[in-house]
Symmetry: none
Subunit: 222 residues, 2 copies
DNA sequence: GCGCATGCTGAGCGCGAGCTGAAGGCGAGT
DNA sequence: ACTCGCCTTCAGCTCGCGCTCAGCATGCGC
């Protein structure tokens, strides 16, 4: 069900941050400090995607990229120096699926990882909750073959709720997942939840429930 | 069964309070005043999670965080100064699993610790007692496939009782675990226990027992 | 039995969580 | 420059919830 992501990053702090951010988005994550056991990891862990730092001790990111391409169907997202244009070019030539320049915002990396996984078809791009179909890839929400018009943030919000369906998510969680904010502004979330809820209900779909004191859930039954 | 938590906090009063609150929630706890023996503790005590103060004599919290990430799979919850936004940012980059700003309510810390442990898969998110299923993650309590409507505090209370099922817990313990209060107000607990009990019994579940003079237990009836 | 301690619960109240309409700001498109 | 749509902030309102209190019930010791 949930995709597996292998993170190869020698800076422990960054690697750990990336790992836990990905874990919170529901991925199964392994973290390595170098690419020495890469072949073994590909075989045993069988990642759907590898987050690869360019600068690594021993074999660098490009060499590892080749290994991955040769012996695995995994997607690859590379971490390059922001200004290192040459890196990006080399990576492009090598065929990574996407790039994120350091320093980066965690939310951006997570977004790119999910985008690549969706593109590769490793993650179902559509989630169904009740009679609602949320297609994150196409950016479309349907109910009974009728499209529901949502704005960009409303869509991101609903996609997140759909991914976490059945689980109560706090406003803080929503804030960090959808906006990347750290400070607590409950009203911002409330306003957008309200908008989403209204549009869904106009189409007869009552799925967004508030759990007072805890947060919101997307679920079918009352 | 019960997870191990290592608390590193140089202020003894705070460390002691945290430790006993965690112990009352059923965790096995070790308390250190600094991080000098961290490596040894990681090896011998093998904590599932470390509660880490940022301000510490000797190596500070961030340095210790790296050590933990490098040599252990333990989760990390950091204690940061409430106003120290830079701390939170540094911590995020460093990859702690969660943060609690000082001053904090004990109950909040305990809640975050359990949340992280659940996320890491060290603690099951659902507990079953008799025919009752308590799912802290989904924020739902079920009996015979029927959801039981509880308020936020009622849920926190029941989750705590469920975690301690079969064990008699005093009102004081409940008070610190669920509310983070220090002063003794038995009636507050009684009122909410009463509410929970009533709602459970409306669904035919008789699990909350009073042990006069000691406290309450959650257990399948004899 | 009596008296005290402990526990239970219905009622009321204040607060704050949550919802929403409105308005300002900003960027994109024309 | 102007318009339009979207995001965000703000303020006012509602109502559910949590807490306190008081009176009653139940145990327990004597």
């Amino acid at each position: 069900m949930s995709a597996r992501v292998l993170v190869i990053e020698d800076a422990e702090a960054i690697g750990a941050a990336v790992s836990s951010a990905l874990r919170e988005s529901g991925y199964e994550v392994q973290h390595r400090l170098d690419g020495r056991q890469l072949e073994a990891d590909l075989g045993r862990f069988r990642p759907d995607l590898v987050v690869l730092d360019v600068m690594l001790p021993g074999r660098d990111g490009f060499q590892l990229l080749e290994v991955i391409r040769r012996s695995s169907g995994a997607g690859v997202v590379m971490l390059t120096a922001r200004d290192g244009v040459p890196d990006r070019l080399r990576g492009l030539a090598g065929g990574a699926d996407d790039y994120v320049g350091k320093p980066f915002v965690l939310a951006e990396l997570v977004a790119r990882v999910s985008a690549v996984l969706r593109r590769l078809g490793r993650t179902p791009s559509t989630v169904q909750v009740g009679d609602l179909v949320v297609d994150a890839d196409a950016g479309v929400v349907m109910r009974a073959d009728q499209p529901i018009e949502l704005t960009a943030t409303e869509l991101r919000l609903l996609v997140y709720l759909a991914a976490q369906r059945g689980r109560v998510v706090s406003k803080t969680q929503i804030l960090t997942a959808v906006w990347g904010y750290e400070d607590y502004d409950p009203n911002l979330v409330e306003v957008h939840v309200s908008a989403v809820r209204r549009k869904l209900e106009e189409h007869g779909s009552r799925l967004v429930h508030t759990v007072r004191g805890l947060g919101y859930v997307l679920r079918a039954e009352e």
